[in-house]
């Protein structure tokens, strides 16, 4: 029932939108009142929250108009991709479109935050930042990579409070196989105190060591000067521990300038963690809420998110302070921050800007379009084709065998990679910097998408497409609608339908070639390749 109604509604929207659309010329700026079908809806249906207060205040001050609310079709695809790195199944889209509950978006957000893929997808992100990689130049070794990845994954799945998560990473001792968080201190290119301190500053303070004065970096290195490593009889096992050799009283300097004497019988790492993980630490909460914001909103309130320093101010300091307070108030429950951001009107804006103001992006006047991450894109292509990616590790060990049906976002080891992931900018995990992941489209990517045997094979082998073709029995309208839903999580507009149908009539084109070309065209559309 609901489906039929939606369709009816959809069709009437199509006509309305077509009339509106034909009046517009692409390339021109659109006045705030005009709603772009099928990406937007005219009036807000979600209540929004405090985030919007801060964002709107800043926009208002700068005379920038925010974008209207994105449509349900846009929202469901966007929120799936942003929260679980997976687009919705056609059935999920149709059910959501038919759902009449006024708070259905909030309900969906809660469902997604509890899905298994939430942990899958966010472990990927954390493994980038924590440099999880078996081989050169970060040598965790395969077994430790698996243990570390599982620990990260489980921490996220169990929604371990963020302060506990960091404390375990900073203060653990033991075997790289049995106490996975010790791998934090192994995932560095050099193991001297200064390199370790730099990794800690980058990861948990969002601060680059090159940007801080010498005194700060050397004062901070003291806390990591007693970490020691030793091998065991087990192959590739390594123990990380506190060096028992007499060290005398150490004099450390915290990044805020406060000096401290560390007694020989206390672990300097714990002293540092105690300083870092406090509600009023100027870096700790700021770093993580700013990162989560940038992961969901495409850009940090402080930008780049791992470049926090005095001369790189936040674009909206009140908003940042608010999020910090919320995180501390929620006892470092990161999902609380996700929920706040995802439920805001700011997040649910359309990606079509209403202004040419150069500050619009930095002040979050619309949702920013972003190319899908390499692993996410590959997962979608594999799912449609029905063929999993094949990985061969340079080091054949039980821990490096990847089953073909494993999702690419679940790849634990940065050393196990393939041509697709390399081409589409998967980070090398050498430095842990956010900028290592490159989501900028390149000529070579375009050539691959437009013209490779690989894409052609993926389309031709797709059982889903074959089934759709069989079911349609030559009905081009139905086929086009289903293919659109499969690739773009929405039904086509009237114009799109007409375009597709007339393409099918191309002289000499067989019906299944038409299907192939429609799938090919949608894979190559911006709407498919981008979060929007």
């Amino acid at each position: 029932m609901n489906v039929k109604k939606t369709v009816l509604l959809t069709v009437s929207w199509v006509f309305l939108a077509c009339i509106l659309h034909s009046a517009e010329t692409a390339g021109e700026e659109q006045p705030a009142s005009k709603i772009v079908y099928p990406y937007e809806i005219a009036s807000w249906t979600v209540p929004g929250n405090d985030i919007d207060r801060f964002v709107l205040a800043a926009l208002h001050k700068n005379g920038i108009d925010p974008s209207p609310q994105c449509s349900d079709e846009v929202f469901i695809r966007r929120v799936y991709l942003d929260t679980i790195g997976t687009p919705p199944e056609p059935g999920e889209v149709i059910a959501f479109l038919g759902d009449r509950r006024p708070d259905k978006r909030a309900i969906l957000i809660d469902v997604l935050l509890d899905r298994n893929e939430f942990a899958d997808y966010w472990s990927l992100k954390w493994c980038d930042i924590l440099r999880v990689k078996a081989e050169f130049p970060i040598n965790l070794w395969p077994n430790a990579v698996q243990a570390y990845h599982r620990w990260i994954h489980d921490s996220i799945r169990d929604n371990k409070p963020y302060d506990m998560f960091v404390r375990e990473l900073l203060t653990s001792s033991g075997s790289n196989f049995c106490v996975p968080p010790v791998n934090f201190y192994r995932a560095v290119q050099a193991r001297d105190p200064s390199s370790i301190a730099a990794a800690v500053a980058l990861t948990f303070m969002g601060t680059r060591f090159d940007a801080v004065p010498e005194t700060v970096s050397s004062g901070m290195s003291v806390f990591f000067s007693r970490i020691a490593y030793k091998k065991t009889a087990e192959w590739k096992e390594e123990i990380v521990y506190l060096n028992p050799a007499p060290a005398g009283t150490l004099e450390g300097v915290f990044p805020d300038g406060k000096e401290i004497k560390i007694a020989p019988d206390s672990d300097p790492r714990i002293v540092f963690a105690d300083w870092l993980i406090t509600p009023d630490n100027p870096w700790f909460a700021k770093n993580i809420v700013n990162r989560v914001w940038s992961w969901l909103m495409g850009r940090g309130i402080i930008h780049e998110p791992d470049d926090i320093r005095a001369d790189n101010p936040a674009s909206n300091p009140e908003l940042l302070a608010y999020l910090e307070k919320e995180l501390v108030g929620a006892r470092y429950d990161l999902k609380h921050i996700y929920r706040l951001i995802l439920n805001s009107r700011t997040y649910q804006q359309s990606s079509i800007p209403r202004t040419g103001n150069p500050d619009a992006e930095a002040l979050f006047a619309h949702y920013p379009v972003r190319r899908l991450e390499a692993e996410v894109l590959l997962d979608i292509l594999c799912r449609i084709s029905g063929i999993g990616e094949e990985y061969v590790s340079p080091i054949p060990e039980p821990y490096t065998f990847i089953p073909r049906d494993q999702r690419n976002i679940m790849l634990a080891d940065g050393s196990i990679t393939g041509p697709f992931l390399e081409l589409f900018g998967r980070p090398a995990r050498d430095t842990g910097m956010e900028s290592e992941r490159n989501n900028k489209i390149s000529d070579a990517q375009q050539m691959y998408l437009l013209n490779s045997t690989d894409i052609q094979r993926k389309i031709r082998s797709s059982q889903q497409l074959r089934r759709m073709t069989a079911v349609a029995r030559g009905n081009k309208t139905e086929l086009t609608r289903n293919v659109y839903m499969l690739f773009l999580s929405r039904f086509p507009t009237q114009t799109e339908l007409e375009n597709a149908e007339s393409y099918f009539l191309t002289e000499g084109l067989l019906f299944n070639q038409g299907v192939e070309d429609l799938a090919w065209a949608l894979i190559n559309s911006k709407e498919f390749l981008y979060k929007h």
């Binding site: 772009v36 081989e135 379009v369 050539m447």
Partner: protein, 439 residues
């Protein structure tokens, strides 16, 4: 301590440097970057023997060392240059030793594949807190699209698969990534990923392209977005390649049969031919990743298979480049990440194998300003140690950069703004450093 002052001084210095560079660029033409010098060589073909070829069984035979070292290969052949002998399974290369030089004293002492491959192709020791770009990426940086390269395909091409464990661009970023062909040039057609698509006619390509343009609803709605503008530009460029001459460039069927036969009708042979076509068409750096040299066991059987194939293809490449007048401007360098243990492992499970060996090994260089007919350095009687004139990876790469007109001390753009040189300082002098004796 005085970081702010340091930064200020730094920025002033940088400003002066920038002004200076602009002046220089003005005087010497607008296309020479800061690190460029007059060049002998225009292009490089890197023949990478993936896994590490045995030096004893190729360019540094040791018949006097006995069976435990040279195995069955105890009758090296005399080359056309008096005094130079190479393995008996390389008769074609033996006839043209005047065209190349052999370095018999390469050393870095590293025996792990990835760290050795890294130092041989970047000139830097692993573990310097930063992953350096390979020679090909450095060449793209100094001589590629930013500096007058006009080719439709990337200036740095890999035939046919990347090395995987080794990120070619390092911190330079994806702009300098090599174009990786995929496919097999020994098959007809050579299916180059992204360029050649079987079973889609030119007409259908055009029809689909139009169709695609009509379906771009989101792109038409989000006007003026920089990301999308970039997208449209890269799509145009991709189509320039797809619909342009690149397809013909990779079509080896246009070569005469006798030329194709001369290189050998196998993947490596046709890769060498493809490399010649690429440099002939202006590509700056071609790497051929030639698998199968990590011969821990069954070593001698493998050599009997691989050496003739390699001999035919490499000699054909040198001859062909020379016949076409391209050898003077094209550097060919042959080598892998290390050599192999001079002493044979006869015992099980190796049963006649050779392990990794970074203390002493050989590299062959030709063309582009390198003299032929010379031997640089020497190993000891068993090929285990460098006897004279050690050549370190940065000496070899420094020489290649010099011939290409790239200053080994030039700066690379570090993501974090530090001062990063192309190569670590080279200790030059008589009998050390850059290979002056053969340049």
């Amino acid at each position: 301590m005085d970081a702010k002052r340091k930064r200020r001084i730094n920025s002033i210095t940088r400003m002066f440097l920038a002004v200076f560079c602009i002046l220089i660029m003005h005087v010497y033409g607008d296309e020479s970057p800061a690190g460029a010098r007059p060049a002998h060589a225009k292009a490089v073909i890197q023949i990478w023997l993936w896994g590490g070829p045995s030096h004893l069984d190729t360019f540094d035979p040791k018949p006097g060392a006995g069976y435990d070292y040279c195995g069955p290969f105890d009758k090296p052949v005399q080359t056309n240059v008096p005094g130079i002998e190479i393995n008996e399974l390389l008769p074609n290369l033996a006839k043209m030793a005047d065209k190349y030089s052999i370095i018999r004293s390469m050393t870095h002492g590293i025996s792990g594949h990835e760290t050795a491959a890294y130092i041989m192709q970047t000139g830097h020791l692993a573990g310097e807190k930063l992953v350096y770009p390979s020679v090909g990426a450095v060449v793209s940086y100094f001589k590629g699209y930013d500096h007058g390269y006009r080719g439709t395909i990337a200036p740095y091409v890999i035939l046919t698969t990347p090395q995987g464990r080794f990120s070619e661009v390092g911190f330079l970023g994806s702009k300098y990534k090599p174009f990786v062909t995929g496919g097999d040039p020994n098959k007809q057609p050579f299916v180059v990923e992204g360029i050649f698509l079987e079973g889609v006619s030119e007409q259908r390509q055009r029809d689909r392209r139009q169709f695609l343009g009509r379906l771009d609803s989101l792109g038409k709605s989000v006007a003026g977005n920089q990301e999308f503008q970039w997208f449209d530009r890269s799509r145009e460029q991709a189509y320039d390649v797809i619909m342009g001459d690149a397809v013909k460039l990779f079509d080896l069927s246009t070569e005469k049969d006798e030329i194709r036969d001369m290189y050998g009708r196998n993947t490596f042979g046709q890769c060498c031919l493809m490399a010649r076509r690429l440099v002939e068409n202006g590509v700056l750096y071609v790497t051929i990743n030639y698998k199968g040299w990590d011969t821990h066991n069954q070593h001698f059987n493998m050599m009997r298979r691989k050496l003739p194939e390699m001999d035919v293809a490499v000699s054909a490449l040198l001859k062909d480049l020379s016949d076409r007048g391209l050898l003077d401007s094209t550097i060919v360098w042959w080598g892998g990440e290390f050599g192999r243990t001079p002493k044979v492992y006869w015992e099980p499970p190796w049963n006649g194998g050779r392990g990794h060996y970074g203390d002493c090994f050989s590299v062959m260089v030709a063309g582009g300003g390198f003299k032929g007919g010379c031997v640089v350095g020497a190993s000891d009687a068993r090929g285990e140690k460098v006897k004279e004139r050690p050549v370190y990876p940065q000496d070899l790469l420094g020489s290649i950069y010099e011939l290409l007109g790239i200053d080994p001390a030039a700066k690379l753009p570090d993501p974090q703004g530090r001062d990063i040189r192309v190569l670590p300082p080279i200790k030059d002098g008589p009998g050390k450093g850059v290979l002056k004796e053969i340049m």
